[in-house]
Amino acid sequence: MARVVAGLATSHVPAIGAAMDLGKTKESYWKPLFDGYEPARKWLADLNPDVIIMVYNDHGSAFSLEVIPTFAIGVAEKFLPADEGWGPRPVPAVHGHPGLAWHLAESLILNEFDMTIVNEMTVDHGLTVPLSIACGEQKNWPCPVIPLSVNVVQYPPPTGKRCFDLGRAIRKSVKTYDKDLKVVVFGTGGMSHQLHGERAGLINSEFDKNFLADLTRNPQRLIELPHIEYVREAGAEGIEMVMWLVMRGALDENAVEIYQHYHVPASNTATGLMILENQPLTV
C-alpha cells in the first residue's frame, strides 16, 4: 500500500529559482538562504521518495482568469516548465504519476472534494522552485511529481480548514492505492509577503515564527485563522500559507518536526522551510 511518510513546506519565490538558474547562490545576498537548504536536500535524497504530491499555486500560467479552479490535479505523464514572461526556467520537465494521480482524483471526488482534472498543463515557479529548493540542480528530477494546484490568486482562496481537510483526504486516498509507494507531500508558498500596492515589502517575522511553531503541534489555531488575518498580518500574498495546511493535514496528528529554516529576505519575501515526518508504523 502507498503511504504518506513525510511533508515538506517551503516558500516558492521566483527569485530563488532565478538565483540558481543564474549561478548566484554563493553571493552574500543568497548564501545564508541556500546554506539553510542543504540539510533539507540531504534529507530528501536520503529518504528517496517514490512520488511527490506538490501542493502549489499557479500564477497565471497553466490557468488564467478565464477558468479559476479552486483545486486541480494534474494527471499527465509530463508537465513542461511555463514561460512566465522571462522564458521558461532552464529546469527539467516534470514527470507525473498518472496511476496515483488518477486514483487521487477519483478517490478525492468520491470523498466530496470536487477536484478539477487536468490532462494538459504547464507548471510555473510555484511548482519548479520548491523542486529546485528541495532537490538542487538536477538533470532529471529524482521522482515523479503530481501537481495539485490551489487557487490563492483570486479572492477567496479555500479556507484553512478546507485545505487541512483536503490534506486528510489525500492521506486517506494514498493509503487505498494498491502499489507500495513512499509519498512526500509538499505545501508551498509564503511566508509573509506583499507584492503589490504601497504596502509592498511587508514582512511579519513574528507571525511567521508563530505559524512555524504551531504547524506541528497546534495546527488547530492555524486552521481557524480567517483570511483577513493572513492579509492584514502576513501581507496580501502571504495568504498562500493556507497551502501549508494541506501538507499538515496529509501528515499524522503526531508527526514530528525534523527541520526548519527561516530567512528574510528573498526579494520581497520572508522564506520558510519546514520538514515533518510521520512516526514509523508500529507493528
Binding site: 500564477h59 522571462w86 490568486v153 503589490h196 515589502g201 514582512i203 483577513i228 492579509v231 496580501a236 529576505p265
Partner: protein
C-alpha cells in the same frame, strides 16, 4: 467599507477587481508567448487595441505606472508579465509601487522588510 479595504496600500483581488480588470489581465496574460512580447514591444499602443481596455488601463501600461495598473484592476501576477517583458524583476515593480528607489527598497528588505506596525489599518495611517 469591507474589512479588507481598511488595510492600507492593499488592493485585494476580489470579485470587483476581477470583473473590472478581466480584459486587462488577459492582455497581460498574452505576454507569456514570445511572439506576443515581440509584437507588444514593437508597437505597444496598437498591440493593446486587440483588447477593450479602459483609458486608465492603457495609460498605466504606456507610462509604466505600476501602481496605476493595480488600481485599474490589474493583478500583480498578471502585470508582472509586463515587467518580465521589460526584463524587470518583482522587486523593481514593488519598489515602484511603494514609491521609493529600488536601492532604498532593497535596503528596507535587507533590514527585515516593511514593518506591520502602523500598516494594519487605515485608522493607523490616516
Amino acid at each position: 467599507m469591507s474589512e479588507f479595504e481598511d488595510i492600507p496600500g492593499t488592493y485585494l483581488f476580489d470579485k470587483d477587481r476581477c470583473h473590472d480588470g478581466y480584459q486587462f489581465n488577459m492582455f497581460c496574460m498574452s505576454l507569456v508567448k514570445p511572439k506576443n512580447r515581440q509584437a507588444f514591444r514593437s508597437d505597444e499602443a496598437s498591440y493593446m487595441d486587440k483588447w477593450p481596455l479602459t483609458e486608465s488601463q492603457r495609460r498605466s501600461v504606456l507610462e509604466r505606472d505600476w501602481l496605476g495598473m493595480i488600481k485599474a484592476g490589474g493583478n500583480i501576477y498578471y502585470t508582472s508579465k509586463i515587467a518580465a517583458t521589460d526584463g524587470r524583476s518583482f522587486q523593481f515593480v514593488a519598489a515602484a509601487m511603494s514609491g521609493v528607489p529600488e536601492e532604498e527598497y532593497r535596503s528596507m528588505m535587507m533590514a527585515g522588510g516593511r514593518p506591520v506596525e502602523g500598516n494594519r489599518s487605515k485608522r493607523e495611517t490616516d
